[in-house]
Structures are given as structure tokens and as C-alpha cells.
């Protein structure tokens, strides 16, 4: 299987006035393959967003390396950006632009062939069912509409790798279901999708492999069945707690 994402020994530190230097991401390594949905599962502050931001070249790691679609984020950030579609945890839409305008602008900004842009935008609008509100300012859209527009904007230039930071966070069941279906379709098209969430059910449902992350450390990686076998637990919630406890035990023993 073709490795589209290779992360090795990734570390990122921040300074916090109260806590001093904080290791947000601590020696994280994993890979993701073509046509795979890889879920980063962890509570708030676990280091998911920081990992995704480093993958998207928004942040530079203190150490370690990231390769996306064969390009190194440190040495070739421009080609990495060309190969990814990044969706932040917020919808991040320009409030006074319509979905059609935003999607078109991002196709242009991501160097999509100019003459194909109108056709591509129409196709995306149709696929995501944005037509009814395609020309409404995004500030007037509901949260679900904004989130769908945001995903549409992320994939408009047809990148091989998608980095989605909690794409269904705060959405109702129906819209969340729609988004899960889109992610599934994109996976079937051969896209590699890195997906972060703290929603266990969602991760279990749509991810091929899961990485459990807590306090900046990647505790384990595997398919849901592999994780069930190792932990002897069935529900992902229990599996998560098992790995967190196991890790703490290991740390205590080490001291």
C-alpha cells in the first residue's frame, strides 16, 4: 500500500506563562495510506490539532519529520500545501462571501486549472447540495451549511490528502451523517484522510485505523479490531481509557 503520510518522531513545544514549556506533541510517529481514513482520537488538549497544523505546514515541529505525498513539510512546504486540503476546527469562511465565491477563490488560490474552475465549482456545489444557498453570504448560513461549504472549499482543488480537524464537531446528527458520507465517498476516490475527533462513535464508524493520543503522546495505532484484541475491551470508550491507564502505569514503573 502506498504511504501518503509518514510522520516520524514529531515533537512540538509551547510556552505557557503558568506551566512553562509544555510538550504539546511528544515523539509522535505514524503513517497513513492511500484510500485510508486515519482517525486521531483524543480529548481536548491532547495534541490532535497541533499535529494536524504541523502536517498542514502551519506550524514547524521542534523536531521530527513529516512527509506528505512524497514531500517534506520542512524542505518543500509549497508542494505539501499543493497536495493537501486542510479544514480547521472552525469553519473559517469569509462572512461576506457566498459559498460559490469562496469555493471559486480557493480553486484559484490552489492553482486549479483556470479554464476548468467553473465546471469544477458547479460539480462540487451539486455534489454537496449547496445549490440552494450557493449565492448567500456565508454569515447568513447555519452551522451545518457553513461546515459543508468548508469541506467543499477544502476539496475543490482535488488534493490527494485531506486533513480534517473535527469536521463534525457541534453539528446535528443529520448534518454529521452527511459529512460522514462525504468522507466515505472521498475515501473511495482514493484520498487519504486524516481526521481528528474526540467523538468515539464517529471515529469507530468511519476510520479504517485509529491513533489514540493523550497529553501529546500517541499511545497506540491500529484498526478497531486490533485495538479490541489488545485491550480486551469492546467499546472504543473503554479501549481509550485502557490505553491511557496502561500508559500511566508504564510511566510510573519507569520511575
Amino acid at each position: 500500500m502506498e504511504e501518503k503520510i509518514i510522520i516520524k518522531n514529531l515533537c512540538k513545544e509551547f510556552y505557557d506563562p503558568q506551566r512553562g514549556i509544555v510538550k504539546a506533541v511528544d515523539n509522535v510517529s505514524f503513517s497513513a495510506y492511500k484510500g485510508e481514513v486515519f482517525g486521531l482520537l483524543g480529548p481536548n488538549g491532547a495534541g490532535k490539532t497541533t499535529t494536524l497544523r504541523m502536517m498542514a505546514t502551519l506550524m514547524k515541529p521542534n523536531s521530527g519529520s513529516i512527509q506528505i505525498a512524497g514531500y517534506d513539510t520542512e524542505n518543500d512546504p509549497r508542494n505539501v500545501r499543493r497536495s493537501i486540503g486542510y479544514m480547521s476546527s472552525s469553519t473559517a469562511l469569509y462572512p461576506r462571501l457566498s459559498p460559490r465565491e469562496i469555493i471559486t477563490y480557493f480553486a484559484e488560490l490552489n492553482d486549479y486549472p483556470k479554464n476548468e474552475i467553473p465546471m469544477r465549482v458547479e460539480k462540487i456545489i451539486r455534489y454537496f447540495g449547496i445549490g440552494d444557498y450557493a449565492d448567500t453570504y456565508s454569515e447568513k448560513l447555519s452551522t451545518g451549511m457553513k461546515q459543508i461549504t468548508s469541506i467543499a472549499r477544502t476539496i475543490v482543488h482535488d488534493p490527494p490528502v485531506l486533513i480534517l480537524d473535527e469536521p463534525s464537531s457541534g453539528l446535528d446528527v443529520i448534518v454529521a451523517q452527511k459529512i460522514h458520507n462525504y468522507i466515505n465517498d472521498l475515501k473511495n476516490e482514493g484520498k487519504t484522510i486524516i481526521f481528528s475527533s474526540h467523538n468515539m462513535g464517529e471515529v469507530e464508524k468511519i476510520c479504517d485505523r485509529i491513533g489514540i493520543i493523550n497529553n501529546g503522546k500517541l499511545l497506540t495505532v491500529g484498526t478497531i479490531n486490533e485495538l479490541r484484541t489488545i485491550s480486551s475491551k469492546y467499546y472504543l470508550e473503554e479501549i481509550f481509557i485502557y490505553f491511557v491507564n496502561e500508559f500511566e502505569k508504564r510511566v510510573e514503573n519507569a520511575y
Binding site: F14, Y15, D16, P17, R53, A56, T57, L58, M59, K60, R78, N79, R81, R82, I84, Y86, M87, S88, S89, S90, A92, L93, Y94, P95, R96, L97, E101, Y105, F106, E108, L109, N110, D111, Y137, R153
Partner: protein, 407 residues
């Protein structure tokens, strides 16, 4: 960058609240201008009324002694006959002799004394009228032909008339108002693009397009410059229209004669071109300062706090140009924004001070280099770009300084 600028500009121009604010702020100042102009003119009229100036005169040829009556009729001018008028320093001096059967005047006044200059107009009018009377008398008595006489001509040096006064007033009002409108619009746009985009996380998405971070920041900067210029131009047009249509009549009521002001002195191609270039430069420098300031904040609220002190300083700085006694100097040339506004004032009032303009240009270049070299790199730092909530500004600066030391 073009696409980004177009995207940012479209979003900004559609922001109705921002637009209304940008247009409204300077309009609020317009009544103040009217009040300022009328107060200035009233004070000026009252000032002239209250002042008495001595006219020390000596009529050498007794044939012209009836000139005394004409001189006595000049308002606020106190005629004092003396044998040695040229030695007097506290008033205007006049010596009247005879040349070719006609009066010849020698007027001595202190050209640096604005009161002397303002009274000279009245005196000149009387002397010219007396000369004409004598000329006509001579032609009648001797049956001379008019064409044999040279036309009476006075060479006026350093004499300020009403047109010059209005030119002076408008030469500080126009740059001042344009600068204020640019400052208010650039401040609002900088907060929206700098801090607002961090708050909305749109910065994150634009930073993942295949472009340099520098290009993203520069696009924001140029968008703010363009927005500031557009707001400046709209306000400039509004201001000029208001001055021509409304103030002209109002000012005319305060001081007779001002309604006939030759607007071509102010509203001409040269001045409009200079104003345009100056407005571009001012928008450039104000944007440079504000985009940098707002870039350090990750929320609109913080952005306003960051920008406020600069807004206050930069707004009050151009007020210096309304102080007539202040001459161009090196300190003004060193101060960004103020130096361009001051140069604009000088050029509109036809006072081309090449040395000052050269200094202003030189210091402007230095400021651009300082900002680009020392402040711009901060904006490219991920802590600043993404607005980490737990990282203080001081810490950001320390991190940056630490990196420089390591290098």
C-alpha cells in the same frame, strides 16, 4: 497575491458597518472644520479691527498735501506726519515726492509683519487712487494725451491677499481631513484583516494554500492600503464638494469677498495629482503601522486595543499642520505620516521647500526599511500568525529575539 487581495477586498467592501463607520467618522469632523474656519476668520477680522498701525509719512512736495485727507480715511491706520519717516520701525513709513509732475511713493514696511502686510492693501488702494486723480488733472490742465504716460505699476513683493489666506486654510484642511479619513479606515480594515482573520481562523486556511506566508501578509497589507485609499478618496471628494458648495457660501457671510475665491488655486490638476500621490503614501505608511500592530492580536477586541494608541498618535500628529507658526523642520521630516501630510500642506500652499521634502522622502525610506526588516518578521512567526492564546506578546518578542541571537 492578486487573488488574495481581490478576496480580502471583496469581503471588506461588503462590510456595511465598516463602510458606514469609515465614511461617518470624517463627516463628523466636517462641522468642526466649518466651525474652525469661521472662528479663524472672525478672530482674524476682530484682530484687524482692534489693531491700530501708525503711518509715519512725509510729503516732500507741498503740492500733494491733500493726500493727507485720503490717508486719514484708511481704517485703523493712524497717520503721523514726521520729518524722518524712514527711521521709524513701529509702523508703516511713506515718503511722497514729485517725479515728472506726478506723485512718487516710497513705502517702507516690515515684510515679516503680517499686520503691516494686511494694512498695506488699504494704503496702496488710496495711493493708487490719488495717483490716478493727479494724472487725470495733469492731462486736463496740460492737454496731454493719455498714451504718452507709462501705466502706473506697483511691484508687490510678499504681499498676502485674501486668496492666499484661503489657500493657506485649505492647504491644511484638505490634507488633515484626508489623513484622518485614511487613518480611520485603515485602522478598521487592519483590525478586520489582521486580528479578525485570526479570530475567524480564516488565516489558517489561507496559510495552507501554495503561497509564501510573506505573500499572505503582504496581500493583507496591500488590501488595507487600497481600502484606505478608497476611503480617503471618497472622503476627499465629499470634503471638496462640501467646501465648494456649503462652506463657500457660509464663509462668504463671515467675510465679504471670500465667496469670490478662485477655487482654481486649490482645485487644480497639480494639486489634485500631488494630493493623490500623498494620499497613496500616507495610506501606505498608516497601513504599515496598523497592519503590524493589528497582526499581533488574535481577536478583534485585542486588535482594537493594539491599534488604538497608534490611531491616537497618528491622528493627533497631523494636527501639527494646522499650527501656522510651525515651520518645516527635521523633527517633522522624521515623523512618519506627519512628514507627508506636512509636505502636502506646503505644496498646496505653493511653498515648495525642496530640502524638507527631500528629508521627508529620505526618512520615509528609512522607516520602510526599519518596519520591513525589524517588525515584519514578527508577523511571519507562527505564534503571531495563528494567535496562540497562551503566548503573550512579550514572550513572542523574546522568542524572536532568542532566534536572532542564535543566528
Amino acid at each position: 497575491m492578486k487573488i488574495l487581495i481581490s478576496l480580502y477586498l471583496k469581503d471588506l467592501l461588503r462590510n456595511k458597518m465598516l463602510g458606514i463607520m469609515v465614511i461617518l467618522v470624517p463627516i463628523i469632523f466636517y462641522p468642526l472644520i466649518y466651525w474652525g474656519i469661521t472662528q479663524f476668520l472672525m478672530v482674524k477680522s476682530g484682530f484687524e479691527e482692534s489693531r491700530k498701525v501708525n503711518l509715519y509719512y512725509r510729503i516732500v512736495d507741498p503740492g500733494f498735501s491733500d493726500l493727507k485727507d485720503s490717508i486719514a480715511a484708511i481704517r485703523s491706520l493712524v497717520p503721523v506726519e514726521t520729518a524722518e519717516p524712514e527711521t521709524e520701525k513701529n509702523g508703516i513709513s511713506l515718503i511722497v515726492t514729485r517725479l515728472n509732475e506726478l506723485p512718487r511713493y516710497e513705502v517702507l514696511l516690515d515684510s515679516s509683519n503680517a499686520v503691516h502686510k494686511s494694512f498695506y492693501g488699504g494704503l496702496e488702494e488710496k495711493l493708487t487712487a490719488y495717483y490716478q486723480t493727479e494724472l487725470e488733472k495733469l492731462m486736463t490742465d496740460k492737454n496731454y494725451q493719455k498714451e504718452y504716460f507709462r501705466v502706473y505699476n506697483i511691484e508687490s513683493v510678499n504681499i498676502e491677499g485674501q486668496n492666499e489666506i484661503i489657500t493657506k486654510i485649505l492647504s491644511f484642511i484638505i490634507p488633515l481631513m484626508a489623513v484622518i479619513s485614511i487613518i480611520s479606515s485603515v485602522a478598521a480594515a487592519s483590525v478586520e484583516l489582521g486580528s479578525g482573520h485570526s479570530e475567524d481562523k480564516t488565516t489558517e486556511t489561507t496559510l495552507t494554500i501554495p503561497a509564501d506566508r510573506k505573500d499572505v501578509i503582504l496581500s493583507k497589507f496591500f488590501t488595507v492600503v487600497i481600502y484606505g485609499m478608497l476611503a480617503g478618496l471618497v472622503n476627499f471628494i465629499l470634503l471638496v464638494t462640501m467646501i465648494i458648495v456649503i462652506f463657500k457660501n457660509m464663509i462668504g457671510q463671515v467675510e465679504a469677498g471670500l465667496a469670490d475665491f478662485d477655487w482654481g488655486l486649490i482645485i487644480n490638476f497639480k494639486n489634485l495629482s500631488i494630493s493623490f500621490v500623498s494620499l497613496v503614501l500616507i495610506a501606505f505608511f498608516v497601513s504599515l503601522i496598523f497592519v503590524t500592530a493589528a497582526g499581533f492580536a488574535s481577536k478583534r477586541k485585542d486588535g482594537n486595543i493594539m491599534v488604538s494608541p497608534f490611531t491616537a498618535i497618528i491622528t493627533y500628529l497631523p494636527l501639527v499642520i494646522v499650527i501656522p507658526a510651525i515651520e518645516p523642520n527635521i523633527l517633522i521630516a522624521m515623523t512618519p505620516v506627519l512628514n507627508i501630510a506636512f509636505a502636502l500642506k506646503l505644496i498646496i500652499s505653493n511653498d515648495l521647500n525642496i530640502a524638507f521634502i527631500a528629508e521627508a522622502v529620505a526618512f520615509s525610506f528609512i522607516w520602510v526599511i526599519v518596519m520591513y526588516r525589524f517588525l515584519f518578521p514578527f508577523l511571519l512567526e507562527e505564534e503571531v500568525l495563528l494567535g496562540y492564546s497562551n503566548t503573550s506578546l512579550i514572550r513572542k518578542i523574546k522568542i524572536k529575539m532568542g532566534k536572532w541571537k542564535k543566528k
